[in-house]
């Protein structure tokens, strides 16, 4: 494969991204991006959950196994969670999960946690642009492999 071929292949790669958004802030923020007609790449597919604290790390792993190249978890800003602190629990869980992902050979940048409020339609669109760009750079999700380095 020549260098140019690799480049075109990378350019054509359109990642699949799953977004878990909490009902009260981030999902509403995504709705606001819609009502404000702010454009962003269609790679993201949103799944609504009541709170980011509902996102079992297993869901993230499962999404990666099923063919997602990246996963975004969106919650309310710290202090604003509709259920007081579900977002902080989510943040902690995702931090631990990222360590695990690195350990089993998955680039942990594929998983990202973000805060988007119901008023932040613009921010939501920005985050989606960023995440899509980042996952494009990292490339498609491959089968899990890890070379031990001692």
């Amino acid at each position: 494969m020549t260098a140019t071929e690799t480049k075109t292949e990378m350019e054509e790669f359109e990642p699949n991204i799953i977004g878990f958004l909490c009902n009260w802030c981030s999902y509403a923020g995504a709705d606001l991006a819609g009502t404000s007609r702010i454009q962003y790449p269609p790679n993201i597919k949103i799944i609504k959950v009541m709170c980011s604290g509902r996102v079992n790390p297993m869901y993230v792993v499962n999404a990666l196994q099923q063919g997602a190249d990246g996963v975004l978890i969106g919650g309310c800003h710290p202090g604003d969670c509709h259920y007081q602190h579900g977002n902080l629990l989510a943040r902690r869980r995702m931090a631990i999960l990222k360590n695990l992902l690195e350990f089993i050979g998955i680039d942990s940048r594929r998983v990202r946690m973000t805060w988007v409020s119901a008023a932040e339609g613009r921010k939501f669109a920005e985050v989606i642009k960023e995440v899509t760009e980042e996952i494009k750079k990292i490339g498609p999700m491959k089968d899990i492999q890890r070379v031990n380095e001692w």
């Binding site: 359109e14 699949n16 799953i18 009260w24 802030c25 999902y27 509403a28 995504a30 709705d31 606001l32 991006a33 819609g34 009502t35 007609r37 702010i38 454009q39 962003y40 790449p41 269609p42 597919k45 949103i46 799944i47 609504k48 959950v49 009541m50 709170c51 604290g53 509902r54 996102v55 079992n56 790390p57 297993m58 869901y59 499962n62 999404a63 099923q66 063919g67 997602a68 202090g79 604003d80 509709h82 259920y83 007081q84 602190h85 579900g86 629990l89 989510a90 869980r93 409020s117 119901a118 008023a119 932040e120 339609g121 669109a125």
Partner: protein, 648 residues
Amino acid sequence: MKIGVYVCECGINISATVNVPEVVERIKTLPNVESSRYSKYICSDSGQELIRKDIRELNLDRVVVASCSPRMHEPTFRGVVEEEGMNPYCLEMVNIREHVSWVHSDKERATEKAIKLISGAVARAQFLEPLERKEVSVIPKSLVIGGGIAGIQAALEIAIDGFQVYLVDRNPSIGGRMAQLDKTFPTLDCSACILAPKMVDAARHPNIELLTYSEIEKVDGYIGNFKVTVKKKPRYVDIEKCVGCGLCAEACRLKGRVLNEFDENLSKRSAIYIPFPQAVPFVYTIDPERCNMLKFGKCGDELLCVGACEQNAINFDQKEELVELDVGTIVVATGFDNFDPSSELKYGYKENASVITGMEFERIVNAAGPTEGHLEINGKEPENVVFIQCVGSRDKEGHEYCSRVCCMYTAKQAHMVRDKYPDSKIAVYFTDVRAFGKGFEEFYNRVKDEDVEYRRRELDDPIQVVGNEGGVIVKAEGHPDIHADLVVLATGLVPRKDNKELARKLNISLSADGFLLEAHPKLRPLDTFTDGIFIAGCCQSPKDIPDTVAQASGAAVRAAAPLAQGKAQVEAITATINDDLCSGCRICEKLCAYSALEFSSDDKIMKINDVLCKGCGSCAAACPTGAIKMKHYSNKQVLAQIGGILAK
């Protein structure tokens, strides 16, 4: 399992970007899909009938609707399936408008995305389970937070409906900003004359209990059963004994030395005070920030106020008091703050005594105000008056919105100057005159005809107010300079500075501009996302008095409905525990913000109280054995949705 899928074109809102017929064809091929159809407007009568007919004739088990956000029409479609005897939780919605057609322009990719999202919903739908909505009884009382015109109106309406209302205001008196206004546009009614009788009505109404000088500490519970802790600040005056005679204020050692906030700090009062002559309740309050006794523990060698009070009403031992209120619904009517123009140096506010804000003008022209209604600036009557509009509003770097009342209050104020000083010269710097309300344009035309010069400028054009002997010079690009002895800044309305804190206590949201967020900008403008909590007046967005009153009456109707019904439905989405799987590790116990999970020492497993559970699912995400199942968001349902979306 038979699933019916209904895709909405939403006029051209969806169909312009998503190839709806193709979506419907592709979805038909999915397992369990019995029927897949589309309609121009699924939410319309004929669209709804399409679903109803299929449920009846095809015996559908589940319905998937792909249209706008579930936050818009989920209740509508839940109602539709319910009419045909299907459990409302067997409906699944897919958001292909806000999350697809409105945010993407590539038709092919948008169509592909819509198909994937609907595939996810179809996969999830197979595992949806019928749920029972819990019904709770409603405490037949309401709480109104904020006693401005909005809060007063809302409280009166609910009281007239026959329910008890607590009206809480943090100030010593109800009345809010309207009490500070002199006249009101466009009819020029005297503000106090139309407000004061309403204040009295509120105080007298047997169903209304006023809690003034009080703040909301904490709000717990849910629709029908809110538990609210209110902090009553000590007035150091017994409101049962005080008759409002004012002898104490006359006697106060600090008489005439304490800035009077009601007069926008343009006059001075005593440390014991009544905010304004029509205050309700008509009782005195001691300012803890200024009173010598409260600050230093002594005041000269005797307490002059105590000596003057014939009722023995003054009590320096009063303590802050916490009261618990149980209410079924809440109306928030906390109003607005005035924009402070000191940060905008170009206007020379604070540097020049000749430059004042719109609210300061209201106080100065008021007969009960600091100058008894004489417009005196630097000790003389103004001959040259300039109004500058849009100060602090329509600013892309600051408050981007239009404050909606400044155009008209400026016209009103210009008229009042003309009325008092027929020979004065009056100019208004404006960008667009927004005279949108009933009678507004007529009023504006009338003011223009009263020899008021309207000078147009662009919002970004330079304008500068510079000090000059005996006044100021207003320099605006494209116009000759004006030597003015009075400049009135039409300062905008901004969100209360503690809105964030209040929103957190109530578990409601703010919009991007910092005002309180309504559940839907068009269809649910008085509701919040928290059931049982409603909003009215300027806390939601800047507005004039007629709009504020209309909104308050509406919010009162919304808040009274559950009280009248006596019961309300609460979310069916809660956690459940599988006793066989629970190992009693108690990890979930500490995660629950509502103490809904309790360890049973008999069974050595966790038990759930599903009235306390709010359904966030934090416990289920942490349960190591998978014993906790979230209704409507079970592992099976979520994993099926992931699989459905990602299926090749």
